[in-house]
Amino acid sequence: MTEEQKIQHLYWRAGFGLSPTAFQQKRKLPLNKVIKDLFKAAKKIQPVQMPHYNLPSAESFKAMSKAERLIKKKEIQKLTPEINLNWVRQMASDDYSCLQEKMTLFWHGHFACESKRFDYAARQINSIRAQALGNFRDLVLAISKDTSMILYLNNQQNRKNKPNENYARELMELFTIGRGNYSEQDVKEAARAFTGWFSDRKTGEFKFTERQHDADSKTFMGKTGNWNGDDIIDLILDRKETATFLARKVYRYFVNEKINDKNVALLAKVLYQSNYNIGTMMQTLFESDWFYAKQNVGVKIKSPVELLVGMSKVLNLKFGNAKSVLFPQNYLGQMLFRPPNVAGWPGGKTWIDNSTLMLRMNFAAVVFQRVELSLELKDQPEQPKARRLKNLDISGDVVALTKVFSNVKEADLGLKLEGYLLQVPFGTKDSFIETLAKEAETSEGQIKAYVLGLMSLPEYQVC
C-alpha cells in the first residue's frame, strides 16, 4: 500500500472517504500527521442543527387542550426527518469533523434507539456526539439518562414496586458487557438500581424521581450495596469483559468483520487501561500497522449512510428536502433514528439483496443523469404514504472533481479516478467504462463518465 492509499483507507473508515479537494490536500501528507489532524478536528463538538420551530414551553403545553396537544405532537414528530437531513448534510460537509460524525454514527448504531420527536432525536445524537471520542463511562451514563432511550426501553415504567427490566437487560446484553457475563439475578438487581430514572414528560429532561427509586440494598455481580444506576455502570465497567466486548464491536465496524483476537485484545487493553477513553483506543487503532494490512482494506460493505455520504463527498450532492435522504435510507435499510431494533443494524452482507443491490448500482445514474427508477416503498404505519423514488431532489456536480483531475493526462485519467474512488482494484483500462468515457467530448464529460461507471460497480460498494 502506498501512503496515499493508506490515507484513503483511513478516511473511509474514520470518515466517509475524501472529497476531491480534501484528497488533493491530504494525499501527500505524512500519515501520522493526517491521523493527528483528524483527532484535533474532532475536538470541537459541532451539534446537529435544529429546524426552526417554536417548541411550546412546558407551561403552555400544559395549558393546551387535548386536541391542540395532539396537533403539536404531530408537528414535532414530523420534523424528525429534518434532523436526519441536517445530520447527513453535516456528515457530507468538509466543514465538519468526519471522525466525529463517524463515531457518532457508530454509537448511534450501538445505542440503537428509535426517536420519534425531532427534539429528542437531536438531543440524543448531540449528547452522543459530545462523548463520541470521550469517556465511555460518561457516554453510557448520558445514554442512561437520555429521554429517547428511557422511553424506548421502558425505563419510564421502571418503578420501585414494579421494576421493568428492559433497560437494565439491554444495557448489559447489547451496550456494555455482552451475553454470558451476567446472571438473570444481575438483571433484576440492576433494574432496581435504575428505578426512578425517568424523563420529565413536560420538559424532556432527565428526572430522578426519588420516591420511585428503590434505595434498598442490592447484590450485583457479587457485590452488595445501596447501588444506584451510576454504581451499576461503574461495576460493569470494572469488568475487563466490558472492554473486550466494546473492542470487538469497534473492530468489526472499523477494521474487519472477521475478528483478529490479538488485535482485539490490544484494543481492549488500551481501552481498559485508559479508564475507557474511547479516543485513546481509536487512535491506537488508526495508528496500528495491521489496520492498513491488505486483508483489512476494501473488505467492508458500505452501509447505506456510508454509501450516500461517500457519494456526496465526491459529487457535492445537494439534498433539496428530507425525503431525498429518507427514501434511499429507507429503501436500502438504514434509516437514521429508526434502527430495526435495539440490537442495531446487523450490517455486512445483510445490507444486500437483489433490490438493494440494483438501487445501489443505479444510484449514481439517478443522481447524474436524473434517471428515474420507479421504485416504491411499502406502505408503513405511522409513515406518510408509500413514496416513490421519482421526484427525489438530489443534485450534484463535478466542479471540484474537474478542478482536481483536470491536469491529469487523458491516458491516465481512468486509472487515477479509479484509484481515487475504489478501495479494491477494478481494471478500468480497456474496460467498458473507458469505452464510455472515450465517447465524451470534453474532459468534464470524460470525468463524469468515469465517475458514473466506477460508482456503478460492485467494487464501489465496499470500502
Binding site: 428509535e114 473488505v299 430495526p340 431494533n341 404505519p381 467498458f432
Partner: protein, 401 residues
C-alpha cells in the same frame, strides 16, 4: 406482450446468453433434490400491515362485551355473515364466507405470542423472524427455510416478494428471497446499460469475499429477472381481478404459479390497517379489496388445477384493543386471528374458539395459539422440511394441513 417481434426475441435470447456467460464461476447445479418432494407445493403469504382489527373481521356477534366495548364501531349483528352460533364474518369478507362453505379455509383465533409488543415495527419483526419477544434475530423464518433447503439453488427466485423491497421474513443467513414488483419493471432495472455492462465485464482475478458476493448477487438477479420475465409471458390470466394493488399482485402470483415457475413461496403485503380513527370505513374498504382480490385468485387457481397445491396464510402483526378509543378507532392490541386457505386443508372452518372477552390482558385479547405453531405446521406438514432447524425451537404442529 404476447406477440414479441423477432427483433425483440433476438434481443432477449442474446441477453439470456449474456446472463449465462458470466455465470460459470458461480454456477452450481440447481439442486432439484432438496425441493423435489414438495416442489409443486406453493405457499402464499399475505401480510396485513398496521395491525388488522381481527375483532371486526371475525365478529363475535352474540357477545355483549363486544358490543359494549365498541358502541360506535362494532359490526351490527344483523349485518354479520354468520358462520357459527357465535362467530361470523365482516360483511365485506365474502371470500371467507365462501371458502368457509366450501371447506377451503381454516381460521385460527387468538393467535399471538407471549409478552406481546405493541410497536408495529417490533411486532412485525417478531412475526418475520419468528423470535421470542425478548430475542433479536436478523434472519427471517422463510429466509432460514431457504438457507436449509435451497443452499444449492442457483437463483434466488425460489421465494418471491411481489414488491420493490425485500422483507426481513425472506432474508436468510446465506440465501435471500427475491423482490420483484413486476417482471417487466424488474427486467428494465437489470437492463440498464450500466448494469448489463458491469455484469458482462470479464473478471480474471479472484475477488475478495464481499465483492464476489456482490457479483454473485448481481448475476443471480439478472438471470432470475430473465427467467421470470420469460415465465411471465406463458400465461396471462383471464380471470377478472379487482383494480387495486393487491388484485394486481395476486394476479401476478397466480400467473407465475400457473406457468409453473420454479418458485415455491410468494409474499404480498396490504398496508393501511393502522386504524386509530374512523376505523369502520377504512378497514372495510381494505377488507373488501382483500376479499375481491382473493376470490379472483382462488377462482383462477381452481380453474387451472393449482388450488390443491396452494396454501395461503394471511396475518397481521397484532390485533387491536377490544375497546374502541375516543376517535371511533382502535389502538394497538395483541391477540388476533389468522386465515389459512387452500384446497388440502385437514382442519376446516374454525380451528379453535373465538376470543374470551371476559378475561383480557391489559385490555387486549390473550393469545392461546402461538404463531410459531402455525409456522411449524407449514414447514413440517406442507413444505416437508425440518421445522426445528428453521425455527430453532420445537413448536407442535397444529395439524391443519
Amino acid at each position: 406482450m404476447k406477440n414479441i417481434s423477432r427483433r425483440q426475441f433476438v434481443k432477449h435470447s442474446s441477453l439470456a446468453t449474456a446472463g449465462t456467460l458470466l455465470l460459470p464461476r458461480f454456477l452450481n447445479a440447481f439442486d432439484q433434490k432438496s425441493i423435489q418432494n414438495n416442489k409443486n407445493r406453493k405457499l402464499v403469504v399475505v401480510q396485513f400491515s398496521g395491525g388488522n382489527d381481527g375483532l371486526n373481521a371475525i365478529v363475535p356477534y352474540t357477545n355483549d362485551v363486544y358490543y359494549k366495548s365498541r358502541p360506535n364501531i362494532a359490526v351490527p349483528s344483523n349485518k354479520v355473515l354468520k358462520a357459527t352460533d357465535n362467530l361470523g364474518f365482516n360483511p365485506k369478507l365474502k371470500v371467507l364466507q365462501n371458502l368457509y362453505d366450501s371447506g377451503d379455509v381454516c381460521i385460527i383465533n387468538n393467535i399471538g405470542y407471549p409478552d406481546p409488543d405493541r410497536s408495529h415495527f417490533r411486532s412485525m419483526d417478531i412475526w418475520h423472524t419468528a423470535s421470542a419477544s425478548n430475542e433479536f434475530l436478523s434472519t427471517g423464518w422463510l429466509g432460514r427455510y431457504l438457507d436449509g433447503n435451497c443452499t444449492n439453488c442457483q437463483n434466488p427466485h425460489h421465494a418471491i416478494e411481489v414488491n420493490d423491497a425485500l422483507s426481513l421474513a425472506l432474508k436468510g443467513a446465506q440465501m435471500n428471497g427475491f423482490a420483484m414488483k413486476n417482471p417487466t419493471q424488474l427486467k428494465n432495472t437489470t437492463r440498464s446499460k450500466i448494469v448489463q455492462a458491469v455484469a458482462k465485464h470479464h473478471h480474471d482475478h479472484e475477488h475478495e469475499e464481499n465483492v464476489a458476493y456482490l457479483y454473485k448477487t448481481l448475476a443471480n438477479t439478472i438471470s432470475s429477472a430473465d427467467y421470470i420475465y420469460e415465465k411471465s409471458k406463458i400465461y396471462s390470466s383471464k380471470t377478472a381481478y379487482p383494480k387495486g394493488q393487491l388484485g394486481k399482485e395476486l394476479k401476478q402470483v397466480a400467473e407465475l404459479i400457473i406457468s409453473e415457475t420454479d418458485t415455491q413461496i410468494y409474499y404480498v403485503t396490504l398496508g393501511g390497517f393502522d386504524t386509530h380513527n374512523n376505523q369502520v370505513n377504512k378497514q372495510e374498504r381494505l377488507l373488501q379489496g382483500y376479499s375481491e382480490a382473493m376470490s379472483a385468485f382462488v377462482k383462477d387457481l381452481k380453474q387451472n388445477d393449482k388450488w390443491d397445491d396452494t396454501l395461503v396464510m394471511t396475518f397481521s402483526e397484532f390485533g387491536r384493543r377490544v375497546a374502541e378509543n375516543g376517535s371511533r378507532g382502535t389502538d394497538h392490541g395483541a391477540g388476533n386471528n389468522l386465515y389459512l386457505m387452500g384446497g388440502k386443508l385437514k382442519k376446516q372452518g374454525f380451528y379453535n374458539e373465538g376470543p374470551d372477552l371476559m378475561h383480557l390482558e391489559k385490555g387486549d385479547i390473550k393469545y392461546t395459539v402461538d404463531f410459531r405453531n402455525v409456522y411449524a405446521t407449514i414447514l413440517k406438514d406442507w413444505l416437508k422440511t425440518d421445522d426445528q432447524a428453521v425455527l430453532q425451537k420445537t413448536f407442535k404442529s397444529l395439524g391443519f394441513i
